[in-house]
């Protein structure tokens, strides 16, 4: 099945800084999903993107789907300590490797 590649693997930021994780595919994606897993927790669905060039916002989180539907990004503005966790992109049952975000207060 299609595999999605995710970068960076780790990101450490100071509280208040912005954060972005990227998801790429060599083939066109019909949809892309984003999940968050808190330390010691389980993945929790955040959002799904379906349309080319789609942009969705959830408070400080902005999700984008590329025009060619081969890449996606998750951007967090002004990170908070509650944003700590691993962020995964996924296509159906295929998950990216995740980006582990740590936030220094």
């Amino acid at each position: 099945g299609q595999q999605v590649m995710q970068i960076p693997q780790y990101q450490h930021v100071q509280e208040g800084e912005d954060f972005t994780t990227y998801c790429n595919s060599s083939t066109t994606l019909s949809n892309i999903q984003w999940y968050k897993q808190r330390p010691g927790g389980h993945p929790v669905f955040l959002i799904q993107l379906v349309k080319s060039g789609e942009v969705k916002k959830q408070k400080r989180l902005t999700f984008q789907f590329g025009e060619a539907k081969k890449n996606s990004s998750l951007h967090i503005t002004a990170t908070q300590t509650t944003d700590v966790g691993t962020y995964f992109c996924a296509r159906d049952m295929r998950f990216g490797a995740g980006t582990r975000l740590t936030v220094k207060p």
Binding site: S30, P43, Q48, F88, M93, F95, G98
Partner: protein
């Protein structure tokens, strides 16, 4: 009420033993999954069931045998446990099976079962 529940939460056992993990969802979903998450947090699909029927079996050793007695339950039995089986196992469910050609369906994950094989 917990949407997707798993038991046990922790499982410590010795090599060569056989163990089972149970999963139940009360969401009325048609599709259930088993994932393995290794120490590097990589989340890999193992099995997918749709309406009690096995849909996906991802190159998992045949020591792993899923069983779905009904739509709300998907259990995982593991024979002859090996050190490399140590991981967190997540059960998940979704309303329908993603077709692969269009709209996907969000998955609801259980709390996970941390399996340690010594």
């Amino acid at each position: 009420d917990t949407a997707v529940s798993q038991t046990p939460k922790y499982l410590v056992t010795q090599m060569g033993n056989d163990k089972s993990i149970k999963c139940e969802q009360n969401l009325g979903h048609d599709t259930m999954y088993w994932y393995k998450q290794d120490s590097k947090k990589f989340l890999k699909i193992m099995f997918s069931y749709n309406n009690k029927e096995l849909i996906i079996n991802e190159t998992v050793p045949n020591r792993f045998s899923p069983k779905s007695p009904d739509k709300a339950h998907l259990n995982l039995h593991i024979n002859s446990l090996e050190l490399g089986d140590s991981a967190v196992y997540f059960c998940a469910s979704s309303p329908f099976l993603s077709s692969g050609s269009g709209f996907g369906y969000e998955q609801y994950f259980g709390p996970g079962t941390r399996l340690t094989v010594t």
